[in-house]
């Protein structure tokens, strides 16, 4: 995985240190916990263990077990408790170890957290962050590998963030914690060790602002979370063939920065959407539809989608690797959109 150089746009490059995505998440949490005594963390193995991914290592030492709460293995229970705490003056950040386990807390997220503000006519608020993971290829099979962000993007009342770089992870998580709404925050567990430039200074990234990770003029590749790296690799392949791909990362699916996506689509006239959720009824379908509706008369070709294979994630590496989008697949689709076959370039 390469780090997109565009993530540091506008910053003095020489002054910017590099940290991992896991460190960026931890820094965001620690800074917000220092800033606001109402912020606290709860979940399974978040304290001394610092989560199995070690993302939260060190937090309990600074903030103590009163603000870094180890819970039983009870996703519905501790998410529900976080909803109640959020409704009564606190700002909990829940850690749901694997996105697959969100299924255990669906009622609390979908029927409770997402609805409370609306159902109460605006009187109650749920400033809650549910941090969780997505992504396959960790050889963890079907119940520890899913990318379920489309489900939550479907539910009014929830916001959904899925950062692709350490810089974005830190800025978006700080925004999520300060938001008065429930936010489901997806981190690709395969990206925790990815390094990238993150400034020492305080910053936040607003929701609903897409980021152009690489400019280009022939084809737009819209990509989310770790698929941004797949798209950037595809862009490198295409570059060698004279095709300049623009890579756009929405960063949040709710709210969605329609304008940036459509502007890029109008500019290039060709769009591929890449996401690690299942293709069927997924995020790629929604983004493709939004772009088609808004930019149809500027498009040279139908919007194409690349998503995870519509099968449960298998264990065997030989099988699993077929299920996730690859740079070669994305490049092939982009090439087709540009009216070229692979043969033209051999």
């Amino acid at each position: 995985m390469s780090t997109p150089s565009t993530a540091v746009r506008g910053l003095a490059r020489e002054a910017v240190r590099e940290i991992t995505l896991a460190q960026a998440v931890r820094e965001a949490l620690a800074e917000e916990m220092r800033r606001d005594p109402r912020v606290f963390v709860l979940g399974e193995d978040v304290a001394e263990a610092g989560t199995p991914f070690k993302v939260l290592a060190g937090l309990v030492q600074e903030f103590g077990p009163q603000r870094v709460l180890d819970t039983p293995i009870s996703e519905a229970g501790f998410v529900g408790i976080a909803v109640g705490a959020a409704m009564t003056g606190l700002r909990p950040v829940v850690d749901v170890m694997f996105g697959d386990f969100l299924t255990l807390a669906m009622d609390q997220i979908v029927n409770q957290a997402a609805k409370v503000h609306y159902m109460s006519g605006g009187k109650l608020k749920v400033p809650l962050v549910v941090r969780t993971t997505l992504g396959a290829t960790r050889r963890s099979a079907a119940q520890h590998s899913q990318s379920l962000h489309a489900w939550f993007s479907h539910v009014p009342g929830l916001k959904v963030a899925l950062p692709s770089t350490p810089y974005d992870a830190k800025g978006l998580l700080k925004t999520a914690i300060r938001d008065d709404n429930p936010v489901v925050f997806f981190e690709d567990k395969m990206m925790y060790q990815v390094k990238g430039p993150v400034p020492e200074e305080e910053y936040t990234i607003p929701f609903g602002v897409a980021d152009v990770k690489r400019p280009g003029r022939h084809v737009t590749v819209v990509a989310t979370s770790s698929m941004v790296y797949v798209a950037l690799e595809a862009a490198q392949i295409l570059e060698a063939e004279g095709i300049e791909a623009e890579v756009v990362d929405p960063r949040t699916t709710v709210p969605l920065d329609v304008e940036t996506l459509v502007t890029s689509a109008r500019k290039t006239g060709r769009v591929v959407v890449v996401d690690e959720g299942h293709r069927r009824y997924g995020v790629t379908a929604e983004l493709a539809a939004v772009i088609a509706e808004e930019a149809f008369y500027d498009l040279e070709a139908p919007v194409r989608r690349v998503g995870a294979l519509d099968v449960p994630v298998p264990f065997s590496p030989v099988l699993e690797d077929q299920t996730v989008p690859t740079p070669e697949q994305v490049a092939a689709v982009a090439r087709e959109l540009c009216g070229r076959s692979e043969r033209d370039w051999r």
């Binding site: 529900g80 503000h117 609306y118 006519g121 009187k123 109650l124 400033p127 916001k159």
Partner: protein, 336 residues
């Protein structure tokens, strides 16, 4: 289950400080809930109310007794059968009717309806249409109270149907581990919708909280004195930082699962309903004890009944003529 079974013995120790006026006030609250619910049924049968409602009639002593043990800033969470809890915690009759009729002045601006009335000003974090769905919210409010050192207590009302939901046990476990100031009030009205709870509930109900180290107590849910006494014990324990309590309040709903559940013969008999209404009615029990003990004359209860009916009549009249929300409000309050 005979009139003579009404407890004329001395009042539980925890509630001996109450004056005759205090007991009359609790009677009046129960009378208001009953008159309110009778009016709701009338609105339904005359097709003036959208949707359905789940009536609380028969269970009034539980909501009134528990809420009388609470401070104004204490929290409750309620259920689909929640009108009684909301009123007992301090909601106004007129704004309740506004919500039930989908009017702009309703507690949720008409967005919640019967099953979602929330009123943070009176500590009501919301009725909940998912059975057992508020157990997390109530327990989280208790965690919040403890973390903020606010001295508040949270009460989670739920029916015995919620005993089938796993969430309840997940949060009871954490409430006990963390000694949270929460009181779980199980209202056993005998029926999970249309099925007797004995067909759905294995073993001894009180063995369940006991398994988590949570003290449990069986309470006569038809006797507001017993409910208030038990609630005061539980609330005091919570405020002392000693953790959660589980109250199993035995009660009965006189009407169906909801207002449309009229033919109930396939799951319970008329004789059973009549026996509860005749011998176990919470208003009659309080009235019977107070008149026998010379605490109030019969006329005082008649006056309370009249005043309750008058408040309800005014409230519903107000709500019926109140304006609906502007259609543009449909997209408001999705996000804060």
């Amino acid at each position: 289950m005979r009139p003579s079974a009404v407890n004329l013995a001395e009042v539980p120790e925890e509630v001996r400080d109450l004056s005759a006026e205090d007991w009359l006030r609790l009677y009046r609250q129960m009378a208001t809930i009953r008159a309110f619910e009778e009016q709701v049924n009338e609105l339904y049968t005359t097709r003036r109310m959208p949707g359905l409602a789940h009536l609380y009639i028969g269970q009034e002593a539980v909501a009134v007794g528990v809420c009388a043990a609470l401070r104004a800033d204490d929290f409750i969470t309620s259920t689909h059968r929640g009108h009684g809890h909301c009123l007992a915690k301090g909601a106004r009759v007129d704004r309740m009717f506004c919500e039930l009729l989908g009017k702009a002045e309703g507690y949720c601006r008409g967005k919640g309806g019967s099953m979602h009335i929330a009123d943070p000003d009176s500590g009501n974090l919301g009725a909940n249409a998912i059975v057992g769905g508020s157990a997390g919210i109530a327990t989280g409010a208790a965690l919040s109270a403890k973390m903020r050192a606010s001295d508040q207590v949270a009460v989670c009302f739920f029916g015995e149907g919620a005993l089938g939901q796993g969430l309840l046990y997940e949060v009871m476990n954490m409430a006990s581990l963390w000694k949270l100031p929460v009181v779980y009030v199980c209202e056993n009205n005998l029926y999970n919708e249309y099925t007797h709870y004995r067909e759905t509930t294995a073993g001894d109900v009180l063995a369940r909280p006991q398994a988590f180290g949570i003290p449990g107590e069986e309470v006569d849910g038809q006797d507001v004195r017993a409910v208030l006494a038990a609630a005061r014990r539980a609330v005091a324990r919570a405020r002392r930082g000693e953790g959660p309590t589980f109250l199993l309040c035995n009660t009965y709903r006189y009407f169906g699962h909801h207002v449309g559940d009229v033919d109930r013969s396939y799951y319970r008999g008329k004789d059973e309903e009549e026996a509860w209404k005749t011998h176990r009615d919470p208003l009659r029990i309080l009235r019977g004890w107070m008149t026998a003990a010379g605490l109030a004359a019969p006329e005082a209860f008649d006056a309370a009944d009249r005043a309750a009916r008058e408040e309800v009549a005014q409230g519903v009249a107000y709500a019926l003529q109140a304006p609906y929300p502007d259609p543009s409000e449909v997209t408001q309050h999705v996000y804060a």
